[in-house]
């Protein structure tokens, strides 16, 4: 939402702008005319450039070709690369995920799109057993340079079977790399990096973010732009409390940080980027600076990403904690359909603000908002 971006300009001091990085620099100079890009276009351009750079890369999934992509992420690719490289599959996740894995075994670089990651459960045997574990089982002979991508997590009113977040499930599996972008430049840089990566990657996008625009610098638009896998990004520097988040929750965390700054709490927001490998070093360094932690995620709370982050902090930075770590996650229920219930089942900005205040011992009652 460009709304966040504009609000952030007023909230930031000049010093923090200097530290945050290229995207903020492009904000400062109105005269330079910051270019904006939607996440969808960012992903599309990344796919386009990687497919043209390496003929072994091909895209396979439901509706990726003639329909231009179920969410239009692969728009224009069929016309450009032809049906040999942009393949519309029948509705058989297990079959085509396995075909992708087999193609990767034998030398190609497939990108397998799941219409949503909920459907990946039909193919999860191939993602875990034949993609993630094969390099190990074959002692390095068979590497699997495959990317499984698609929207993950809740959308708007799509109910229980279309709204689950899979970051925790895939993040626990050795042999996989799991990434979740937020900004357009995250989406572009990380997708390019994972297509070039020789290992199986699960790339968790978010349907509601596809239409959001973010400013991008010319560096991001360069065709060799790649982000590092395994490195988290500090979206907003702060001193009082660390808030970690990934995907859509980064937007919520940034808004919460803005609200909190008005109340005198200077929160540091970390955009995880990489669920596996988790950038424990950045998170721990941040907690050692701020001494408080709030983790935010959309998925189910038990065994979630936040649980792993809290465990990592307890193991490595226990003595630095001034307050118990707070975990914000989706409600421990299958996603309800009714719009107000759905709102209650997902973390909202108010929940992040409340939890952060609790971590700062400025507590408010725990009851959920109506």
């Amino acid at each position: 939402m460009s709304g966040i971006v504009r609000n952030k300009i007023s909230a930031f001091s000049v010093q923090s702008l200097q530290r945050v990085g290229p995207y903020a620099l492009s904000l400062r100079g109105y005269s330079s005319g910051a270019k904006e890009m939607t996440v969808r276009d960012a992903l599309n351009s990344a796919l386009d450039e990687e497919m043209s750079a390496d003929p072994k890369v091909f895209l396979m999934g439901e509706e990726v070709g003639e329909y231009q992509g179920a969410y239009k992420v692969s728009k224009g690719l069929l016309e450009k690369y032809g049906p040999d490289r942009v393949i519309d599959t029948p509705v058989t996740e297990a079959g085509f995920a396995g075909i992708g894995v087999g193609a990767a075994f034998y030398g190609l670089k497939p990108i397998v799109e799941f219409m949503t990651f909920n459907f990946s459960m039909q193919a999860i045997d191939h993602i875990i057993n034949s993609a993630a574990k094969s390099n190990y089982m074959s002692a390095g002979q068979i590497s699997v340079p495959i990317v499984f991508r698609g929207p993950n997590g809740a959308a708007a009113g799509v109910a229980a079977q279309h709204s689950q977040c899979y970051a925790a499930w895939y993040g626990s599996c050795p042999g996989l790399k799991v990434l979740a972008p937020y900004l357009a430049d995250d989406a572009r840089g990380l997708l390019k990096a994972v297509i070039r990566d020789p290992d199986p990657v699960v790339f968790l996008e978010n349907e509601l973010l596809y239409s959001e625009s973010f400013p991008v610098s010319s560096e991001v638009l360069d065709s060799s732009f790649c982000l590092r896998i395994g490195k988290a990004k500090i979206e907003k520097e702060g001193t009082d409390v660390t808030i970690t988040a990934y995907s859509k929750m980064v937007g919520h965390a940034l808004k919460a940080a803005e609200t909190l700054s008005k109340e005198g709490i200077n929160a540091e927001v970390i955009n995880l980027h990489s669920i596996r490998p988790l950038d424990r070093q950045t998170i721990n360094a941040s907690v050692r600076k701020t001494n408080r932690l709030v983790t935010v995620e959309e998925g189910f709370p038990q065994h979630g990403v936040g649980a792993e982050i809290c465990a990592s902090i307890v193991e490595q930075s226990f003595n630095y904690l001034d307050a118990p770590a707070e975990r914000i996650a989706g409600a421990d229920v299958p996603m309800p359909y009714a719009a107000n219930l759905e709102r209650m089942a997902l973390p909202q900005v108010e929940d992040i603000v409340r939890a952060t205040k609790r971590a700062c011992y400025r507590s408010e009652p725990r009851a959920a908002t109506a």
Binding site: R85, G95, V101, P277
Partner: protein, 424 residues
């Protein structure tokens, strides 16, 4: 097809006699349990070419054979190669059983005794570039494809000199050099992977414009797998995109203790292929020459770009599902019946009766193979166990995937990582 399904009512197989050529051209052996003899009506009349070419090429095979000096299907060299491969499979698996009971091998071990004709009949026709994808019953597939007995035995012992350095085990035989793409424990898991390898073969020709013909992929799997969804998904896609793959069903009638007839609504698996627009062939899997003939045609079809074939091999495993299976549910009469049809005995009989070889040559081969297997066991015994540093290796092709250590460098750059003592 309704009532005659009892496992014991075996139809008589065609014996390996010199009348065999006419037998091939006309009919295939009767399906188990049925009292009718089946015709190879693999496709309906609306799909003319594949079935016609299949049947006509069966007779064209016999035309080719007539050009040879003798009327036989194989030359002496080919016969010896097939015999040696089957003996290797049998001796190796028997040694595995011995080693398991002595405690040198552990976990799940699934032996291939009795099914050697399928592996030898198909895999000996492949080139090095062609791929084989198998299930957990994969030792003999790997051996037939060219992986050394030493490498397979060491892998089974869990030693670092194994084909997967001890990290895969009995059920996960991978060998990149010989294009053995696994070894999968889940049934049906290998079929999409094989279909993907076939897809790659086509892609390399069409998109990457690499020279050379289509490499062919063989997917081996059992009768239980034919009730699994992924199987049908792949039959559909392979036929849709005309992938160079042969689906080989090793129908040994039992999925652990579940009889194929109790588990399947229509037990004739080859009949399922025409529903997807590809030919389905049923062959006697206890006869290596018959399997070889069918394999020749289906591999040629795939290489020519005509698409996939489903070959159902009626075969039998002499031992239980795995070495931990007490094998109590199978009728001893059934086992005895198939023991009489041992592929190795049949091949031996064929070669001797047709004066291709004499006894001493076959004995020499058996002795040689015994030595190979003994040597493999010795080699595996003396090989070292994997070192600790191997534990964290090969999880990723790019080990930076282990992430960043507390000191800010990549974990894989820590020298302790390669020694196996790093904290991850």
């Amino acid at each position: 097809m309704s009532c005659a399904f009892s496992a014991v009512t075996m139809a008589q197989p065609n014996p390996l006699t010199t009348n065999r050529l006419s037998t091939y051209a006309i009919k295939l052996p009767p399906f188990l349990g049925s009292t009718r003899k089946l015709r190879p009506h693999s496709l309906s009349k609306s799909l003319p070419s594949p079935s016609k070419s299949l049947r006509s090429s069966t007779s064209s095979v016999s035309d080719v054979v007539k050009e040879l000096k003798s009327n036989l299907l194989i030359t002496k060299e080919e016969g010896l190669e097939l015999y040696e491969d089957m003996i290797l499979g049998r001796a190796f698996e028997d040694m595995c059983a011995q080693m398991y009971y002595r405690g040198k091998m552990f976990g799940f071990v699934h032996l291939y005794n009795g099914q050697e004709a399928v592996s030898t009949g198909f895999i000996k026709l492949l080139k090095k570039d062609d791929c084989v994808v198998s299930t957990y019953r994969d030792h003999v597939h790997a051996l037939s494809k060219g992986v050394t007995a030493r490498a397979v035995m060491s892998e089974l012992f869990g030693k670092t000199t194994g084909c997967c350095r001890g990290q895969g085990g009995s059920m996960h035989m991978f060998d990149k050099e010989h294009n053995v793409l696994g070894g999968f424990a889940f049934i049906g898991e290998g079929i999409p992977v094989a279909t993907g390898a076939a897809f790659t073969s086509l892609y390399k020709r069409n998109v990457l414009k690499e020279a050379g013909g289509n490499t062919v992929t063989l997917a081996f799997f059992g009768d239980g797998t034919c009730n699994n969804g992924q199987f049908y998904e792949c039959l559909n896609m392979a036929a849709l995109w005309k992938l160079p793959i042969v689906f080989v069903v090793e129908n040994n009638l039992w999925a652990i203790g579940m009889s194929h007839l109790r588990a399947t609504s229509d037990p004739e698996i080859w009949k399922k292929a025409p529903a997807f627009g590809m030919p389905g062939v049923h062959v006697d899997g206890m006869d290596v020459l018959k399997v070889r003939e069918v394999a020749k045609e289906s591999i040629l079809r795939a290489r020519r770009g005509e698409g996939p074939t489903l070959v159902e091999c009626e075969t039998y495993r002499f031992r239980g599902h795995s070495l931990a299976d007490p094998d109590e549910l199978r009728d001893p009469a059934e086992k005895a019946h198939y023991a009489k049809r041992d592929p190795i005995a049949a091949m031996k009989k064929y070669m001797i009766e047709n004066k291709l070889v004499n006894e001493s040559e076959l004995k020499a081969i058996e002795k040689k193979i015994d030595e190979v297997v003994e040597d493999a066991v010795e080699f595996a015994d003396e090989s070292p166990l994997p070192p600790r540093s191997q534990l964290l290796g090969n999880v990723f092709a790019d080990p930076k995937g282990f992430g960043i250590a507390p000191d800010g460098t990549y974990r894989c750059e820590d020298p302790k990582f390669t020694q196996g003592t790093a904290h991850v």
